[in-house]
Symmetry: D2
Subunit: 306 residues, 4 copies
């Protein structure tokens, strides 16, 4: 149950079987940091290639393909006070041709925000709009994390899949536990792409991009094969489907929740259909990245006592 | 500001320019009832052809094409104690082939529920599963309502579009105000398909199907052209996109919210992009019907004071 | 086996259970004409409301729901020498945002073409481009035809479905036989929206829009239920799926062809999968209309002798 | 203009920056072979891990990121007489639930074929169906080839993207020239996954999988940036979009063809829209793999003389 302080020096633009930066045991905690999506650190210095550069990978001793990795995010906290964000909604999220017909539509504009972690607020600094210095509560999260995928793939941190990756789901905040399938020895866990806050769907293609101090703890579940990332909050179990179109992301997330209820929690199949059918909730992770993300949730309180 | 009590005798399987059953004034309230999706009334009698038969249409005096209809749902309350519901998740919501590989998967099973409007609960009566007599809180809503569409169309109540229709969005509950584009003289408002409760996404293809007592009030907004249904709750404004795939429903809902912020609430375009980009929320209406439904929401408290 | 000459006077913007303009017998032939998509006739006069106005409906004596209508297109021939066509590719067929980034991109431009039915050519008259007076061979077809749909629907001639409608498939040319499911007594057959030629996919949203002289013959197949439009050419059988997204149109067309091979031509199921799996061909009807159209084809010569 | 004979010994399950097996010059020809999708060679021996193992990569001297690689397939010829193929259409290509309702539907059945390269035929050996020993003409092609992608990715040979990959387009046959964007020094060209023949759309998820003798020649086009694979046959230019859903594959292919006409062939933008709009043809590559493939084609004879 060691506690490791790890200062990252190398960053990765793909999630793959890269050399481990630290070997840890199940039960250990890691205190580390992530740079922002553009590769800037706590001081604003460019220290990595832009495009969701990742801290890691962390090798979990004993992890084998077919096991499941549990990662509890104990802390996700901005470590500087400036965030940048896209100021325009992506064309693909709007009706085809809509932006072409709006001469005043913002094109790839950038907004700057001041982040106050004491007040837990973000204040719009620029551009100058009718919103003035809009103040929003922050809700820090990690847009991208995951484990090395199968068959030796090295997958761009722009996209996501069964291994996790750039899911851009704002539900991955501190206090949440994530579960990931393990494809390689040691699992090889990566993390990065912090957002001080993000709209549901990430329709601008960004959150308030910022570097983070992160603390996480890991556990191993042997031979607990899962097909897609899962998670648990105080109130919910959830499953994550990453694909295009959104319909297919829904299919993956819903099927994975049905497996959880039936295969893992041993609910009979008909019961699982009814429970999920009438208690399911969905969150939209992102509708911007190369793979979209949909999340299927079930309230823990309605689960039958085991 | 009259209050009409209207007992329906004819029901419609399409939303179109059918003869009005009642003419009302803007500001009036109508107290009426709807049969369930299968055409059964408060006593369980089959009085209409199955397939979301609609009460109406109500002709709103003065309504002209290009105006906007406001409908406030004052009351949506089950008027009997039995509901039926599909007990199996639709194949299209799960990974292709998943159900084929599950020999025990429920196939078009039906669940029966007891609905207690005093306790505001629904209790599972059958089939017999590990859930036993699962009790869920009810949350009554209307799955299908709308106005006569343009160019003389008569659109099946199985599907939805700019005119409303079978949106199966559980956010259309009592207390909510809906806004609809008007395509024909008198608007011609229809309603039906009550659900005592429905899971998000309506992944089984049904809610707890039940007949309802409904009270609603109407208002007219001249020359207030909108493209898709809109709504307002105590806390949110929302817009509704009805299409396949889900991505396109997201495009319609998001574009319509951008129009609301920019064209109607007069926020500058860049401000509208930023506000929506970082405060948007999405609900999944349904991923089952011929047209899916996605809802884009914005919290009213973050809107700039006008 | 009568031959009817029918001059249309009323035109319909929906395909539905409208009053029949002519009652004919199975085996009969009809010689008639269609106006162009904008409602202009052979003389260029505006005689109908724009939006694919339809000639008909023709009532086929003896047709009952559950029967199948056979329509052989004996002749589809432009009856004037001017056609108009969109000169710009629709935004939805291009990468999101692509057109916004092309300042010179044509926006809703219109092209005029001279059609020479003797030479069987179309010559570009305007606008002025590097193509000059581009000459293309004509290939006349009907973009929209179908029968009255079920449950009393009146479906816009902008879209398509199991009943046919605005499929905009350039394979519906003279010499082709179409098969349609029958939903109402008399079938009620409509036709219109002629194109002197059309690109595959109809990516501009139009063909060379022109009025047509049409001759067609009908036959009835009692209790020969089909789910989607089918067709036959000299060389191929084909099935037509109408839906969004394109994937779903593929699903409908492929499933319908499997039914044809297995249910109707009595091929064993495994044989049907193999034959279709390795001999299927696909045409893209349109990727523009509210419902897209994909066509699954199978060469007749590879069908086992019955 | 050397001619290299290369016998592969290592095979790759990803397309990425793996060590080059041979360095060649622009203008050179390579005579080599590929194993089948399951990793079996000309003698039927298992020599590679199943899953479209690739021969290569070939390093093209002088190739730089931003250049374009030209690969002419001079010969693609089966080098054994046995092929295996899936005998069942994939569930995702059929209506959801269709297969569940067909008790006799084939489930993951395998067909064996005898391939006669002299007669240029494939004969069905098993399973036993009403097709008997169906004989089809062979049409050998490569399902998967491509170059190392950007940012150090190693992309599974199950899928495809801008770098090529598992496109499963039957138009990549001998005589065709392919063009690929170059992302890394030396380009690093891979090839494999031969099909003796394949149905359009690859709806069973396989072709007649077989090992091949392949001869190809390469050329370099400096600073000729393209976004997606392109190709040329005797009669057509074509562009390839790889994505889900099919609509998005259409968008990529169509946009890339517009760039070819406008940016490279210097047709004015309006002319390019009209030419493509009325002369486009589409082929369906595959509707099975993680990324689908659509191909946009334009007949060379209608291009304006430069």
């Amino acid at each position: 149950m060691a506690r490791h302080e790890f200062e990252p020096a190398v960053f990765h633009s793909t999630i793959g079987s890269h050399p481990a930066v630290l070997r840890i045991e199940p039960g250990d905690t890691v205190v580390t940091s992530t740079v922002d999506a553009a590769g800037r650190d706590a001081r604003g210095h460019l220290v990595a290639t832009p495009g969701n550069p990742q801290t890691g990978p962390f090798f979990i001793n004993g992890a084998q393909p077919g096991d499941m990795l549990e990662v509890r995010f104990d802390r996700i906290r901005p470590n500087r006070d400036r965030a940048v964000a896209s100021a325009s909604i992506a064309p693909g999220v709007l009706d085809p041709g809509y932006l072409r017909d709006q001469p005043a539509a913002p094109e790839r504009a950038i907004a700057e925000w001041h982040v106050d972690t004491g007040q837990e607020t973000a204040t719009l600094l620029s551009p100058d709009t009718a919103l003035g210095h809009l103040v929003l509560p922050i809700d820090p999260m990690l847009g991208c994390f995951g484990v090395a995928p199968d068959r030796g793939q090295a997958i761009s941190t722009a996209t996501s899949g069964p291994h996790g990756g750039n899911m851009d789901y704002r539900g991955f905040r501190a206090g949440v536990t994530a579960f990931l399938p393990i494809f390689t020895e040691g699992a090889l866990f990566f993390l990065g792409d912090g957002h001080a806050l993000q709209g549901e769907g990430e329709i601008t293609g960004s959150g308030l991009e910022i570097s983070m101090d992160v603390e996480f703890s890991v556990a191993l579940h042997p031979q607990a094969s899962i097909h897609w990332p899962r998670g648990e909050t105080a109130d919910h179990l959830f499953t994550v489907g990453n694909a295009r179109p959104l319909d297919e992301a829904v299919q993956h997330a819903t099927t994975e929740m049905l497996r959880w209820l039936h295969d893992d929690l041993r609910l009979d199949e008909l019961g699982a259909h009814i429970l999920l059918g009438y208690c399911a909730e969905y969150d939209t992770g992102n509708v911007y990245d190369p793979a979209y993300t949909m999340v299927c949730k079930i309230p823990k309180k309605i689960l039958p006592a085991n």
